[in-house]
Symmetry: C2
Subunit: 361 residues, 2 copies
């Protein structure tokens, strides 16, 4: 167990909006941050005093970075595991390389979850179109083909409704590491942000209900509109996952919720702060970002209770141009990520509304 | 009127905790910040991407800075007016040089306030010990000698209880620009943070009750424990001040509150965000820092209503070592300013507690 006090330097791999919000939470607690990110003009570098602009595979640069920081974390899970293996020879890295390996690979992820008795969609790993065809005969239609690695926001996925659609879908993925997942009918998607400290303490945020548009998160609502007993079950599953992984930091668990058993299936886990938890900045005493910093620095975890109902809306692409509407809305907390080009599909900011009362169930 | 959108660069004179919190508020709205500060290792440089480390009187550096930013503001009022005069030839500066001039000089400040019918302590400007002696005969004892300029946190002040104490007090101030103020018995100190936009819109935060220890703010409590009608009166006075000054940004007005008339006397005004408004980060939809950024960038002002009762405690010097106690307190929001040396009297951080209900009057 390491305990780092204010003045210590937190290294963050990745310079996107999650790195940016982590850096700001770290600053509030008195830490310095050092962003490691290959991208020019990344959002996080605007709020940090130290920056390394190098490739994630540049071993010399990684070692250099490791020697300048007291702990390393990351804002996205597509960091090469090999990079984390290099870093951890010099400095503690949270979450661990083992966790990263599991969560980078949809096959390992599902095997891990099923192995500890947590339901997922039925799946099968395949390497060729022929194997895929055979697997579809077992899993049935519709099904979803997903590359095992490096997918996000619907990228690296293709739905197959009929056998005839397989060749196109297969060609589109351009991969020989694919899993085929059964298509699960569900009533709701929710996520639980779970934090685990170095001492094993676990604290979860209230489950959020997530609504997607074009495969990108559009809206998160807390608390999720499910019965309190179900909320507890979802939180318990998230707790088991972080405990089993010996996890340190914030982990996001995405669930499909059905009215018939199994009520909860885990869609995926993300070893990082998560878009569906941004409401915690205003709606809780401790935000997901502060909680992550507390966990990796060995500080006590903070209170995660909800002040009230809240709603977080992503501002995608040109949505950001409605800024003035949100600034005039007394219930809206507006966040701009400092990205200049409002490209379609790009996460430009978000707005959190604190809503005064909890709706009756 | 200028309107700056995200991506614009806000220049901030001063790199202390106020500059730091301004920079973080600016970042949330998508602005870049450029800190201008002569000090090595200043708190604000940790959360900004651009920094000029030069003297406030370095004309070349000031012009250079002005050309790199879209608007300039400042985090403390002891910036030379001449520096602002140089800057404003190249870039808008808010608050204005005129406002800065008034608020830097206790004499001009009191003349301005009395001139618009707002009460202050009785006072007299003096240049010599002989003049001071004569003034004390009129004002009476006890009285406070204050240098006209560059005082803060009780510095540049001396209390004179008896005529015999004058020589020592006078020698201590080392100034020939002094005002003598009558000592006002008061029940409470409060402050009102008023914001005025470039379009003349004015919004005030709830009056805060301020409790000092060793001449340094110790505790701010909102709402101040005074009758609602009195709260309105204090807010109205603050509104008149910012309107009369044609002010842009946040201005802090400190009042002495007495049970006998005049109930309110203005102690001083500060043309900047203020220590007694830090609770607004968590207790209001818009913080004083965000409000200041909105005003100087020509954005609509934000909502300043209180979510509930709140209390802000300054962490001075070694108080900061109690960090873990505050981190474990579910009601406490802990802020560390990133200063390494916990010198006595130094503001190291603060803690805001949101308290659930408003106490009955």
């Amino acid at each position: 167990m390491i305990k780092l006090g204010p003045g210590a330097v937190i290294g963050i791999l990745g310079g996107g909006q999650l790195g940016r919000m982590l850096a700001m939470a770290a600053a509030q607690l008195g830490y310095h941050t050092h962003i490691y990110c290959p991208d020019e003009r990344n959002p996080a570098e605007q709020v940090t005093d130290r920056l390394s602009r190098h490739s994630y595979t540049d071993e010399t640069a990684l070692v250099n970075f490791a020697q300048k920081v007291d702990v390393v974390t990351y804002e996205f899970e597509n960091i090469p595991v090999a990079s984390v293996e290099i870093l951890r020879k010099h400095v503690p890295v949270f979450p661990s390389a083992e966790v990263l390996r599991v969560s980078q690979d949809r096959l390992q992820e599902k095997e891990f979850l099923n192995g500890i008795g947590i339901d997922t969609a039925p799946y099968k790993a395949v390497a060729t179109e022929t194997e895929a065809k055979a697997a579809l005969n077992v899993i049935g239609f519709p099904a979803v083909l997903k590359t095992r690695r490096f997918g996000y926001d619907g990228k690296g996925q293709a739905i197959v409704r009929l056998a005839e659609e397989l060749p196109d879908a297969w060609a589109q993925l351009k991969s020989n590491e694919v899993i085929i997942e059964g298509f699960i009918p569900f009533d709701m998607e929710i996520s639980v942000l779970a934090a685990r400290g170095q001492d094993g303490e676990i604290r979860c945020f209230d489950p959020a209900e997530n609504i997607h548009k074009n495969h990108i998160l559009d809206l998160s609502i807390v608390p999720a509109r499910i019965a309190p007993a179900l909320r507890n079950t979802a939180v318990d599953i998230a707790k088991r996952i972080v405990a089993e992984l010996d996890y340190v930091g914030i982990l996001a668990v995405e669930f499909f919720v059905s009215s018939s058993a199994p009520v909860f299936r885990v869609n995926e886990i993300a070893p990082r702060v998560h878009n569906s938890g941004h409401w915690s900045i205003e709606a809780c005493p401790t935000s997901q970002f502060e909680q992550h910093i507390r966990a990796i620095c060995g500080l006590p975890l903070g209170d995660t209770s909800l002040y009230g109902r809240a709603e977080m809306k992503n501002l995608i692409g040109e949505d950001i141009n409605d800024m003035d509407i949100y600034l005039k809305d007394p219930d809206a907390n507006f966040h701009h990520y400092g990205k200049m080009e409002a490209r379609p599909g790009r996460k430009m900011g978000h707005v959190t509304r604190l809503l005064p009362t909890v709706e009756p169930q």
